[in-house]
Amino acid sequence: MFGLGAYEITLLTTVGIAVTVALSLNLITGFCGQISLGHAAFYGIGAYCAALMTKAGYPFAFAVVSGAVLSTVFGLIVGLASLRVRDDFLAITTMGAGFLFLGVVGQWDFVGGEMGIAGIPDIGLGKTAFMALTLLIAGLTIIYSLYLKRSWLGFVFDAVAADEDTARVLGLNVSRYKLVAFAMGTALAGVAGAFYAHHIRFIDPDSFGFIESISILSMVVIGGIGSVWGVVFAAIVLSLLPQWFQFIDDYKLLVYGGLLFVVMRFSPGGIAEIAQKLWSRFRPEKSSKMEGVQ
C-alpha cells in the first residue's frame, strides 16, 4: 500500500507511537507544568495490561481501553503525589514511581518478571492496517492537543503551570486540574503502550525504564515544551534517529547525546523556537501566529 515496504511501515508505526506518547507527556509537563521523569512507567502499564489482555484472548480494542484505564488509575495516584510535592521534588518523585514500577514488574512472575512477556499475539489486522491505526491515533492526539490548547482547560493549565498559588487565589481548583492533566496524559500513554506492545510483540521491564522516560521527555523539551507541532516534529525525528544514524554506528549515541545538548544550549525553546525565529524572519511584517514558547 502506498508503495511502502515492511521496513517503512515498521518505522511509521514506531513514529505514530512515539508521537502519541510524547504528546501524552506534553499534556502533563508542557501544558500543565508538572514535570514527570517517570512517564515510561505509564506507557509500560498500558503495554503490560494490553499484552496480558490479548494473550488471554480478549480483543485488541478491549486491551487498549483496559491499558488506558489501568494507566490512568496509576496516573491519578502519582497525580495525588503531585498535590503534595512540587517542581524538582515532583520530578524526582515521578522518577521514583518509575523505578518502583520496574522493581515490581521485574519481581512479579505473573507478568513475566525480568523475562518479560513474549509471544504477544498479532492482532490480525496486518501490518499496514496496524500502522494506519497507529497513525490515526497519533493524528487524533494531535488534534486533541491543539484543541486543548485553545480551550479554557488549556487556559487554566497555563495558569497552573505558571504559578499554582496565584491560580488558587483566582478561584481555580488547582488540585483537580492537575489530576485531570495526569489522568489525560497517562491515559494516552497507556494507549500508546498498548500499541507498542502489539507492534514489538515482546515487552520487558527494561523497555520502560528511566532511559525511556528520559527519551520521552527529550522529545517534549527538544520540541519546545508546551508546543504541539514542535513536539510532534521532535518525536518523529528522535524516534527515527537511531535508524538514520546506523551508518555512524559507533558514534550514534554520542551524536544523540550531543544533539540533545546542543539544541538545549543554543535553542532552549527547542524546535518550536527555531521554527518561530525562521517564520518571523520570512514573514517579518506579520506578527507570527506560530504557537511558541513563553
Partner: protein, 358 residues
C-alpha cells in the same frame, strides 16, 4: 555478487562491551570463511546494525535486514530482549536466525527458523548443580542471583537439580546488573556459612562480588558461569579470582584445533583475549556458513533444514540442534589457576544437559 548475512548487535550503550566481542568474533568467522573460498565461490558480506540491546531498535533492524538488505540469514549478537523481538520478525519472514548467546527461553519458541548456539540458562544451571554436588561434593549452597533473564534462568536450573545431587540451597539472594557493591549480601552469606556459593553474573559484576566475598573471609568455593568467562574477570578480582570455577562453552586448554585456532586468531584481530561471547559470535557464523555451503543460498527452507541438521565442531564444541533449535553440546568447566582460565572438567551428561524441546 555476495552472500549477505545480517547481524544485530549492541555497538553503543550499556551492552556495547559484549556487542564488540560478539561482532569481532563474527567478523573473524566471516573472514576465515571468505579466505577459505566463501560460499561456493561467493564472498560473504556481514551486514551489521546497532540495536543498543533494545527490542524497540531490533524490530526495525530485522525488517530492514530482511527487506532492504535481503539477507539470506541473520545472527543475533545481542541480548535477550532485542533478540526475542527480532526473532518473531525473522520467523514470520521465513529467514533463518541464530542467537549467539542470548539466553531467553522464549527465543527459539518463535518458530522453526530460529536457532540458538549457546545454552539456555537452565541447562547451564543444571550443570552447575552437578558441579557443586557431584564433582565438588558440597552440601550447603547459597545462590546469589543476577536479577535478569540470564541469572534467573541459571538459578532456576540450579535449584531444579540441586536436590538430585544432594545439595541443599540454604538461601538465595538477588542483585541487579547495576550493582557493584555487595556488602549486605556478603555479610548475610557469611552468616549463612555455606560450603559452596553458586553466583550468577557477568565479569563486571562477578569480579567485585568474588572479591568482596573473599575479603569478608568467605572461603567456600564459588561457582560461576559463562558470564564470568573473560580475562577481565581475573583482572578485576586479581588474587581473589583464584579457584573460582565456572561452567561455560569455551575450553582454554582444549586440544581441539578449532578452539586453539580461534583463541589465537581472535587475539590477533581484537587485541585482547577471547571470551565466551566472542566465541559464541564466531560459532553462530560458522554454523550458518556451514549450512549455507550445504544448502546454497537459493532456498530459505532448505537453509533452515541444513542448519537443523548441523553437526559441526566449532570453537565452543561440537554443535547440533534439537527439534526446537536449541544447541546440544557439552558443558566445559574451567577454573582460575595462576591468573588464567584452565580446564577443570567436562560435563557431558546428555540427559542432564538436554535442552528444552517445547
Amino acid at each position: 555478487d555476495t552472500v549477505k548475512i545480517g547481524m544485530n548487535v549492541p555497538q553503543t550503550g550499556f551492552a556495547a562491551a559484549d556487542g564488540l566481542s560478539a561482532l569481532v568474533g563474527a567478523e573473524l568467522a566471516v573472514e576465515q570463511a571468505n579466505a577459505a573460498g566463501g560460499i561456493n565461490g561467493k564472498m560473504i558480506e556481514l551486514v551489521v546494525y546497532d540495536d543498543q540491546a533494545s527490542p524497540k531498535q531490533s524490530v526495525p533492524i530485522a525488517t530492514k535486514l530482511i527487506e532492504k538488505d535481503e539477507v539470506v540469514a541473520a545472527v543475533s549478537g545481542s541480548y535477550s530482549g532485542a533478540t526475542r523481538a527480532a526473532a518473531g520478525i525473522f520467523q514470520s519472514a521465513g529467514v533463518p536466525y541464530i542467537a549467539a548467546y542470548a539466553v531467553h527461553p522464549e527465543i527459539t519458541k518463535s518458530g522453526d527458523y530460529v536457532f540458538r548456539t549457546s545454552f539456555v540458562g537452565e541447562v547451564q544451571g543444571r550443570a552447575g548443580a552437578k558441579l557443586a554436588g557431584d564433582i565438588l561434593g558440597k552440601k550447603r549452597a547459597v545462590v546469589i542471583t543476577l536479577k535478569n533473564d540470564f541469572g534467573k534462568s541459571l538459578a532456576a536450573g540450579f535449584k531444579e537439580k540441586a536436590g538430585d545431587f544432594g545439595v541443599d540451597v540454604v538461601n538465595e539472594y538477588e542483585y541487579s546488573i547495576k550493582d557493584r557493591q555487595f556488602g549486605p549480601i556478603v555479610t548475610k552469606v557469611k552468616s549463612d556459612n555455606p560450603d559452596v556459593i553458586y553466583a550468577s553474573g557477568y565479569f563486571f559484576t562477578a569480579g567485585p562480588l568474588v572479591s568482596q566475598l573473599r575479603s569478608a573471609g568467605i572461603t567456600a568455593p564459588i561457582i560461576g558461569q559463562e558470564g564470568y568467562d573473560s580475562e577481565k574477570f581475573i583482572k578485576i578480582a586479581k588474587a581473589d579470582a583464584e579457584g573460582v570455577i565456572i561452567t561455560t562453552s569455551l575450553d582454554r586448554d582444549s586440544k581441539s584445533a578449532e578452539t586453539v585456532d580461534f583463541i589465537k586468531a581472535f587475539e590477533e584481530k581484537a587485541g585482547y583475549s577471547a571470551d565466551m561471547v566472542a566465541a559464541s559470535g564466531h560459532t553462530a557464523i560458522k554454523v550458518l556458513v556451514d549450512a549455507l555451503k550445504k544448502a546454497g543460498t537459493g532456498d530459505a527452507a532448505a537453509l533452515r533444514d541444513a542448519i537443523a541438521q548441523t553437526n559441526l565442531t566449532a570453537s565452543t564444541g561440537t554443535i547440533s540442534f534439537n527439534d526446537l533449535g536449541e544447541v546440544q553440546k557439552d558443558v566445559q568447566v574451567q577454573v582460575v589457576k595462576d591468573g588464567a582460565w584452565h580446564h577443570y572438567a567436562i560435563i557431558s551428561d546428555e540427559k542432564l544437559l538436554a535442552p528444552p524441546t517445547n
